[in-house]
């Protein structure tokens, strides 16, 4: 509720000042209280309206999505059943026995070398698609900034193009590329890269639009062309922000690249899709746990690295 609820305390300097050089008519406290009451009523009304609209929208959404309680009640036990089925049969006495012994960890993860390879592919897909996406975004973001674009046509074209890249879900791109180039990581990488370019390009151009134009003028006055203006007048200012956005995108893309395999985009997701389709129950849980671990680890490592990078921004 902002400053109004806090208000100046009776003995605060602000209050003392108001009483000497008053900007209110008559009693300053009474004037303030009256004003405060007005503001509070207005806010209450706005809040009520907000909730009313929210409830209506929620109702419509529930109806449209057929998200009914009885269906929920019916479905939940099934989820439980499925999860139960995927659980491995582990026997404490054989837990650390070899691959041949049913009930051991090794038996459960008999396919670990294969998973590890696929996981490695998935992480590489994330790295590579983030890199490609960042390059695409970097190439287009200046033209897509209102204040920097050389003319209206280039601005509109590059902005619409970035919007398109961002608006189409990765899975759709992946389906198209799988159709065109066949099943495998290439399709997944390309799909994620294009979506990333769109998402990063938008964020980059927003950073560009807040750039200080002094350096730009300096470069232009020295006879620099448009590219040189962007390279020296803008890029050094915005680069630290770009880097942190790219970093964020890498985290997102690690998740995205584990999923993209479902439509044939390669990596661990493709294997997961396969074991789910063939009801290899124990392998489902084995792979899901691996993916969760990977995502958690990258998030943790990423946070560490980001903290270390703060204050050390001399990257250019």
């Amino acid at each position: 509720m902002g400053w109004a609820t806090a208000g100046p305390g009776p003995r605060s300097p602000a209050y003392a000042m108001a009483s000497t050089a008053s900007t209110f008519d008559g009693d300053p406290v009474a004037t303030f209280e009256r004003h405060y009451a007005e503001v509070a009523t207005q806010r209450r009304r706005r809040t009520l309206l907000f909730w009313a609209i929210f409830v209506v929208i929620l109702g419509v959404a529930i109806d449209v999505s057929t998200f009914f309680p009885e269906r929920l009640a019916e479905g939940l036990p099934k989820i439980g059943g499925y999860l139960y089925d995927t659980l491995p049969v582990l026997r404490p006495e054989h837990l650390f026995a070899d691959v041949e012994t049913a009930g051991s960890l090794a038996y459960w993860y008999f396919n670990l070398p294969k998973y590890a390879g696929l996981l490695f592919t998935t992480i590489n897909m994330a790295l590579f698609s983030t890199l490609l996406g960042a390059i695409g975004a970097l190439l287009l973001c200046f033209a897509a900034s209102r204040n920097l674009a050389p003319n209206w046509w280039i601005f509109t074209l590059s902005r619409r193009f970035l919007e398109f890249c961002r608006a189409v879900p990765e899975v759709v791109f992946a389906l198209i590329f799988v159709y065109a180039f066949g099943i495998g990581p290439a399709a997944g990488v390309l799909a994620i890269a294009i979506h990333s370019a769109g998402a990063l390009g938008k964020l980059f151009s927003e950073v560009n639009e807040n750039v200080d134009h002094g350096a730009l003028d300096g470069v232009r006055a020295a006879g620099g062309n448009w590219f040189e203006e962007m390279r020296y007048g803008v890029l050094p200012q915005v680069w630290p922000n770009f880097l942190s956005y790219i970093w964020m995108r890498l985290e997102i893309n690690i998740r995205a690249s584990s999923i993209i395999g479902f439509v044939g985009g390669g990596g661990i997701g493709q294997e997961l899709h396969y074991v789910i389709s063939f009801n290899y129950y124990e392998e489902v849980s084995a792979i899901v746990i691996l993916i969760v671990l990977t995502v958690t680890c990258t998030d943790l490592i990423s946070e560490r690295l980001r903290h270390r990078a703060i204050g050390r921004e001399n990257l250019m």
Binding site: G214, R220, A222, G224, Y232, M316
Partner: protein, 262 residues
């Protein structure tokens, strides 16, 4: 010889620069004075074509500057260096690279995008910085320097352009008196040593009197005075500065007190 003929710039109804005609011979140090909003910056920005004239013509030697486009226009900007009140350096890059930006116009695409400068260019940059007594800061980030130091780096960048003209838009307006006189001394020294034409917007009168060969007065976009500094009498000053006359005269005491002796 720089020739400005009937130059006009309008922003909507505002005539920022109104029918200005001016000739500046090679090697002159011209001060442009006038209260804020008089059109000084607009005039300078049109000369180096950062701003498009609405009417009139700018000529240099035999060339028609107003007609230049594309690469020829950028070449003109390189020949016609400019420094600014806010220095306009690239704060996050080091001083050396900032000075090297004065050579952008000669760079190929790949070389400039990858910031690859030759040893000879670096040597030139160090020499230019050294003339401004800034060589020792070459590897420091530009935004760690004081205002006066930044302006000297900006002058070094301008020198790297090997210009025919140096335009200075209120180069000392945001500097303390000591830095201000260092910068003005540097401008005058370069003007004398290199025979470089300098056109310098100044807010304060005394600086103009101390340093300039010639003073041009502007008021509401029009040229209202053109002559030697000593020809500036009180009546003219009052006319140019209007209600700001007091301020313009009193600021002088602080702005170039130190250098008046030099």
């Amino acid at each position: 010889m720089l020739r400005i003929e009937a130059l006009t710039k309008t922003y909507g109804d505002v005539r920022a620069v109104d029918d200005v005609t001016l000739e500046v011979p090679r090697g002159q140090l011209v001060g442009v004075i006038g209260r804020s909003g008089a059109g000084k910056s607009t005039l300078l920005r049109m000369v180096n074509r950062l701003s498009e004239p609405s009417a009139g013509r700018i000529g240099f030697e035999d060339a028609d500057v107003t007609a230049l486009r594309g690469a020829a226009l950028r070449r003109w900007r390189a020949r016609c260096a400019m420094i600014f009140q806010q220095f306009n350096l690239v704060g996050r890059l080091d001083v050396l690279t900032n000075a090297l930006l004065g050579r952008l116009n000669d760079q190929g695409f790949v070389a400039s995008m990858t910031a690859r400068f030759t040893g000879a260019e670096r040597a030139d940059a160090i020499r230019a910085l050294d003339r401004l007594d800034m060589a020792q800061t070459a590897l420091q980030r530009a935004d760690t320097l004081s205002g006066g130091q930044q302006q000297r780096v900006a002058i070094a960048r301008a020198l790297m352009q090997q210009p025919d003209i140096l335009l200075a838009d209120e180069p000392i307006a945001s500097l303390d008196p000591r830095s201000a006189s260092i910068v003005m001394d540097a401008l005058r020294r370069i003007n004398r040593e290199d025979g470089l034409t300098v056109v310098c917007n100044l807010h304060t009168l005394d600086t103009a009197r101390t340093y300039c060969d010639r003073v041009v007065g502007m008021m509401q976009g029009r040229l209202v005075f053109d002559g030697a500094p000593r020809e500036l009498d009180d009546a003219t000053v009052k006319r140019i500065y209007g209600v700001e006359a007091e301020e313009a005269l009193s600021e002088t005491v602080t702005s170039t007190q130190l250098s008046a002796a030099s």
